[in-house]
Amino acid sequence: MEATTGARPVRRGLLRRKADYIPPSRYTLRAALTDGDAFTRLSFLILGAGNIARKQILKGLLFLAVEIAYIAFMATSGAENLAMIPSLGWREQTAEKIDGYWHYTPGDNSVIVLLYGVATIFITLLFVVFWAYAVRSAYKAQLLAAETGSAPDFIQDWRNITDREAQVSLMALPVLGILIFSILPTLFMMCMAFTNYDSDHVLLFDWVGLENFGQLFSADGAVNASLFGEVLAWTLVWAFFATFLNFFLGLFLAMVINRPTTRLKGFWRAVFSLSIAVPQFVSLLVINQMLQPEGAINRLLMSWGWIDEALPFFTDATWARVTVIVVNLWIGIPFTIMQITGILQNIPAEQYEAARIDGANWWQTFTRITMPYLVFVLTPYLITTFTGNVNNFNVIYLLSNGNPTPVGATAGKTDLLITWLYKLTVDKGDYNLGAVIGIFTFITLAIVSLITYRSSASYKDEGGFR
């Protein structure tokens, strides 16, 4: 935070690099063990002991309370949860007739067993992190007390987490939310991939190792290698066209609107933004209705005498695939126009000026100036759009619902991995296969984004972007 004078870019660069480097802390667990005094070492067993000894009473008691709470939790239910994980439960529900009434004794529910088990492991890991923090805090109190006479009291600590350590107070709630509602569920679902939780094993299921992965690559069955390959290929084709057609056509339209002699620029932009204002599920459901064999579009074309029988929008595989890509243009292009209009105006005008003086024609300026600039700025956006399209549940589910679906197949011709996953889990109850497909979706996305992002200019030259 020093206010040095000097060339600004250099200083900024230096500051960034310096600020990004964080020296290793001297309050490490190892140092606490070797150099800590009796109270600090006691803190390894009884959290807060060291802090209480340095008159950080409230803090010490808080640490102790957390430890007691954790031990109480493990004693009452945590240990049992952990013990159940290997078997995932075995007691079946039983019914007995006592005095003429049926009495049901609930059995184990493997889903609950697994969830509680994963949550217990999660809580234990969090406790270990907390334990390390508490021990280091005790050692820190010892050193500070030795150096300055007294360890910081509660008020000073409070000031600290709203100032120098502001990330603690600012991030606490958001991180808690992410832990509980995104990381925990994801871990839980990944576990499903190694069980036989399907429609035949609803209440009680077991670990089966890699069997589900084998199923996915087997030659027969409702879920098999050729179907997986087909869906994966279509997912990638769809994501490619949905991303790049949207980009290029949106770019083209944005440039047409941006032409100096185009009139009513604001009006055109407003018309194209209309489709953003309509909620996506509404417009998709409406278009689905319009494209039915008896729907408005077929009616219209027939009444004009252009066609004799209904166009097979969702009954022919190729028609359906083209239809979803085209309808997606209707939804996606307005966003691209909005995005690109802003960026086009940011390209320095001198570059075009210079190019014109050098005698460059329109195509040359476009390929040498406009495109490189756009690609540089938009690479992260394109990657997120591509990722978003691989996971574009709404467009497929609400528009074509995967149709046309061959008889007996678990995935239709327009199903993406994500809608296939949804159908397998929600409609069929085959959670294990859904989880396997989810893991493969993740792997696909990770590979694609890694390759494109690593080789993109905005990654290699991040500084140029700032």
């Binding site: 935070m1 206010a3 500051l15 964080i22 609950i112 509680y116 000031r159 709203t162 100032d163 350590e165 502001a166 990330q167 600012l170 991030m171 958001p174 991180v175 939310g177 992410i178 509980i180 509602f181 995104s182 925990l184 569920p185 994801t186 839980f188 185009t262 055109w268 018309v271 194209f272 933004s273 209309l274 204002a277 309509v278 996506q280 509404v282 459901l285 409406v286 209705q289 039915q292 408005a296 009616r299 209707w330 909005m338 995005q339 802003g342 956006y381 996971n391 549940f393 991995l417 994500i418 949804y422 929600v426 959670y431 859904g434 989880a435 989810g438 979706t441 993740f442 996305l445 700032r466």
Partner: protein, 301 residues
């Protein structure tokens, strides 16, 4: 003679060149306006169709003609008065409540995390960003089932609990969506913060008194997306609201198009679609200025 001819031909050459340029421009103008007009019709037709359909006297989805022939206001009246099958007004109010609360929490979380990632340097910063990036690649639908069980363990799957559950689900993970806001904050000069620190501000004060006001355009964008989340979400709501008493508008509208309702409810579906689109359209029109500003600002660097 020859001299004059030369001059004339030179002259005419100049004129034809000029004309050519103008002609090309005029042809380009006509073509691009024709193209824009044609596409504009394509863009507007489905929307016009829904609006007209919402006034259709015939309530079924498949009509003899493309546009309805008889118009009535009944669909709107019934939508708000006929509550015994699907209680649309209740759904509307519930969704509005959820959206407002989620909007507030979401914006606060995103601001907090983006501020930490952009302006502060601490251990685990890079780790956190990488974890969030990797988690984002897992298909969200995968965790829907797990989230339902977690909510069940918390006792939030019945009655009023469902509304709380939806608020929790839509806003709890919001901190992970900090990337756009962080990109915007990265463009605010560090010297602004440094001056404040020199004046004795704490990090929290810099956050609330400098960063948040400067981020206003982006904040509008964030609030808009956060508000729209609950309106547009369909999958998560479907998994959590098992009974019709807790439906959000998205679920209600989807319900209207299921086979058993379709014939009686299609026109009312169109009316409901218009009703929920109007507030969103107004929000967009009011905020479009900010939106475009912020989108360009975020990448300006």
């Amino acid at each position: 003679m020859s001299h004059a001819m030369q001059a004339a031909s030179q002259d005419s050459g100049k004129i034809s060149f000029l004309r050519d340029q103008r002609k090309r421009r005029i042809v380009g103008d006509i073509l691009s306006h024709l193209l824009l007009a044609a596409l504009a019709v394509v863009w507007v037709i489905p929307i016009v169709w829904v609006v007209l359909e919402s006034f259709n006297k015939n309530t079924g989805p498949y009509n003899e003609t493309f546009f309805p022939t008889e118009y009535t206001l009944d669909n709107y009246v019934q939508l708000f008065t006929d509550k015994h099958v699907l209680d649309f007004p209740a759904m509307f109010m519930r969704t509005l409540l959820i959206a407002v609360v989620v909007c507030v929490i979401n914006v606060f979380f995103v601001l907090c995390v983006a501020f930490c990632m952009s302006r502060l340097r601490f251990r685990f910063r890079k780790t956190f960003m990488n974890v969030v990036l990797v988690m984002g690649m897992f298909p969200g639908i995968m965790s829907v089932v797990a989230i339902y069980f977690i909510l069940k363990a918390m006792g939030l799957t019945q009655g009023i609990g469902v509304t709380i559950a939806l608020i929790l689900v839509y806003s709890a993970g919001a901190g992970a969506g900090f990337y756009v806001m962080k990109g915007y904050m990265d463009t605010i000069p560090m010297s602004l913060d440094e001056a404040a620190y020199l004046d004795g501000c704490t990090r929290w004060q810099v956050f609330t008194k400098i960063t948040i006001p400067v981020c206003k355009p982006m904040l509008v964008y964030q609030a808009l997306t956060a508000f729209l989340g609950p309106w547009l979400d369909f999958v998560m709501a479907k998994a959590i609201c098992r009974t019709q008493d807790n439906y959000t508008v998205a679920l209600g509208l989807y319900q209207m198009l299921t086979r058993e309702y379709l014939n009686d409810w299609f026109a009312r579906f169109a009316a409901a679609a218009v009703v929920i689109s109007i507030p969103i359209a107004i929000l967009f029109i009011v905020m479009q200025k900010y939106y475009q500003e912020s989108m360009s600002g975020a990448v300006k660097g």
